[in-house]
């Protein structure tokens, strides 16, 4: 008789990879005080990084629902956001207004480029993820040239000596750095000072309320959309395109809509990321976000054709938790820089794992 490992139902539902990663994160938390790392600072970091990345991860949801797979073409969406941000600065907007304008300018780019991207993905059904990867690379490379060639002239952005071509990193001080994060920010240090009490280590915690509210709003809209007629159709298209077609759904149009939504959310995601991080990063930078974002939603429990808002939230917390905790905790513990290695193993390994699951489902 066989002796298969029988996991309790609850753990099974959670999924094996999530279990390992949560366990690993828990170990890191427990280790924190012993290796002399400050826990409140770490928690603040995790919350911050969550607020930067969550919208990017949310951008995966529509395409997964419509059966277009994981959006490896995220750089395309990021480019739309970058165009919004740089044009807003170029046009002379400053402060919070520059963020509003960045959102407004990025939107038409996301709709048009997302539409073209959707058109392409509709022609290569079944191979979306591979083609998406190429789209990401080629759009990014194309824009590596465009950043140099486009007639940007704002002195805050262009190379100092030549006066043309955008710099790889542009500081957002005076523009939309922390625009949302500072909105309604909860800073325990300030609260303590105002109340003339000491909150101890808690004083090192800051919560970027505005950013979290913005994410919550977008996540709510996404959730609500999936409960509407069109959202239901989108899920059905992803679940079984032949069924949806027989029920009179225009499959291509639904998929196109999902791609446009993903692209727009991705553009919003990068703007959120920038306002938290404080810099616009150009050239090869968009590519650095693709794998971590895809990995995050998979860690959250999504599969290649099913994803939910809790998947987004849990995945972002777990992934960003690891990214924040490993450099400090592991490095202090073993005095060796393991963080990058672990991050890469986790993100690529997770994607690989998810793709093997997909093949199993197809059987």
């Amino acid at each position: 008789m066989s002796t298969a490992i029988v996991l309790p139902e609850a753990l099974k539902k959670m999924g094996f990879p999530r279990l390992i990663i949560s366990g690993f994160l828990l170990v890191l938390f427990i280790l924190t005080p012993f290796v002399g790392v400050d826990l409140p600072t770490q928690i603040t970091n995790i919350i911050n990084r969550f607020s930067w990345n969550a919208v990017l991860v949310l951008a995966m949801v529509p395409m997964i629902h419509a059966g277009c797979g994981l959006n490896f073409g995220l750089p395309l969406a990021i480019i739309c956001g970058l165009l919004g941000g740089t044009l807003s600065i170029q046009l002379g907007f400053t402060g919070p207004m520059s963020f509003v304008m960045a959102v407004l300018i990025a939107t038409p780019f996301a709709v048009i480029l997302g539409g073209g991207y959707g058109l392409l993905l509709n022609r290569i059904k079944g191979g979306e993820m591979m083609i998406a990867t190429y789209v990401g690379f080629s759009v990014m490379s194309f824009f590596c040239m465009m950043w140099l060639l486009l007639p940007y002239s704002s002195p805050t952005m262009v190379y100092g000596l030549s006066g043309n071509g955008l710099r790889p990193t542009i500081s957002l001080d005076g523009f939309y750095n922390q625009t949302l994060a500072r909105l309604l920010e909860i800073d325990f240090a300030k609260i303590a000072a105002a109340l003339h009490i000491s909150l101890g280590p808690l004083e090192r915690i800051k919560i970027p309320t505005g950013s979290l509210i913005a994410f919550a709003l977008l996540a709510f809209l996404m959730w609500a959309f999936l409960h509407t007629k069109t959202g239901t159709a989108m899920t059905a298209v992803g679940s079984n395109a032949a069924f949806a077609r027989a029920a009179g759904i225009n499959v291509d149009r639904t998929r196109m809509l999902s791609v446009i939504m993903s692209t727009w959310l991705g553009a919003m995601g990068i703007l959120m990321y920038q306002q938290g991080f404080g810099f616009i990063q150009l050239y090869n930078a968009p590519n650095n976000l693709t794998m971590p974002t895809v990995a995050a939603i998979l860690i959250g429990g999504a599969s290649v054709n099913k994803a939910s808002i809790p998947n987004v939230i849990i995945g972002t917390i777990l992934f960003q938790g690891i990214v924040t905790m490993t450099p400090t905790v592991m490095n202090s513990a073993i005095h060796m820089d393991m963080s990058e290695v672990i991050r890469i193993i986790v993100s690529q390994g997770m994607i690989l794992y998810a793709l093997t699951r997909k093949a199993e489902g197809a059987k």
């Binding site: 069109t230 079984n240 027989a246 099913k306």
Partner: protein
Amino acid sequence: MTNNVNPLLQMQNIKKDFFGNQVLTDINFTLGEGEVLGLCGENGAGKSTLMKILFGMDVIRETGGYSGDILIDGKKVEFNTPFDALEAGIGMVHQEFSLVPGFTATENILLNREPCKKNIVSEVFGDRLNTLDYKEMDRRSAAAIEKMGVAIDAKMVISDMPVGHKQFTEIARELSKDQLKLLILDEPTAVLTEKEAEALLESIRGMAARGISVIFITHRLHEILAVCDKVVVMRDGYVVRDVPTRETSVEDITKWMVGRDVQSAAVGEARTNDGGRTILSIKNLWVDMPGETVRDVSLDIREGEILGIGGLAGQGKLGIPNGVMGLYEAGGKVEFNGQEIPLNNPRKCLDSSLAFVSEDRREVGLLLDESLEWNVAFPAMQIQEKFLKKLLGGFIKWRDEKGIHQVTQKYIDELQIKCTSSKQKAKELSGGNQQKVCLAKAFALEPKFLFVSEPTRGIDVGAKALVLEALKQFNRESGVTVVMISSELEELRQTCDRIAIISGGRVAGILPAAASSEEFGLLMVSQVV
């Protein structure tokens, strides 16, 4: 039949549960050498699970194994993988084909067991680089085909074969194994035409005469009576009867299978409706559906009738609904209620109150990964905006979970769908219950006109009767015109008022349901291509 002291196969007290859910209880039977055993039972009775245990499938081990003993030639065996079972001389032909489409029959029959010749490269690098001995391969596959007794072209590529020949290729593959003692055939005739099925039965008799034992699973009971030495009937995980075939009849078996009397509906129920208004008129329809090409079909369907469309497999009967409903490329003219319906546009048909239950349940008919609620309510929601709450003056169309739940529950009760709840995933249901979900989906649309394609394919007798009854009731009570496409003539004659026979992509003739089988038979073969 057998002179051995020990019969070839003994199953003793086999028990199996899936996580506490008992699916097999105390299964006992024996099978002698050269005997043919017919195994029948409704879907979900435990036939497949039993065969999976016998064949050592992984799923059994992964779900906690089984209890009880399997004895082969009197020795206890335990198969951990199908390879162990193959080693012991058990072969199995599955319902789904496992053939390489681009290979010839011969190559498939001997796949991975090809006779080889040494060559220079293989002398150096080892046996894996041996050359295939095609002459020997041809000889062996010819021998296997000869053993089977049905002539198939050994040189034909699988993808070019009609479906029946693929089935025969699988059987030949099992027969080509020298150690084969026991062959399991899991519903082999489901995809065969009557003539092919007849040939298969003949070949089973041949195998038995050569001393190979056969376990034959089928829903077509007359086939069991035709070839089997004994019948084992299962119901709800128990063996309810184990009797020699000659002491039983189709009626008995049916009764044992369902545990209740199934009255075979009289043909006399058919109505004549000559004066009826034409509701759907098809003129010169052609449909490019692979394997079911429709060449030139003109049909007038009268309001309120049940029209049957029958014919042999591959003659185009399935192409008609798929073409009219816009799922495959089609041309010609279709008028519904006097208005022309554009072809190649599923949405337009659905908007005109036509509905379609596809013959392809798993690929087209169901959202396997979603709940029953979604499956039942989805088309009605998308096409007729039912089960939606309008918010903000209709700008937002919110899914009405409560309404969806109610309608699903209604059909679960009406059609007696066996499920744990309306939230259960469609893929977890048995074939018959899935078919009922497909019907519920169409009923929820409240159509004026319904195409039902192969509604009873691969489902058991009990479910079959329920499905046909539900269709009849839907037609009688709601006044819906129904066109039912089926390969089983008997079923059409029980249910329909008129039956059109399709042959060679054309209408060979339309007869009242009461016409004799011979008349239908003549029409079926009249224009075969």
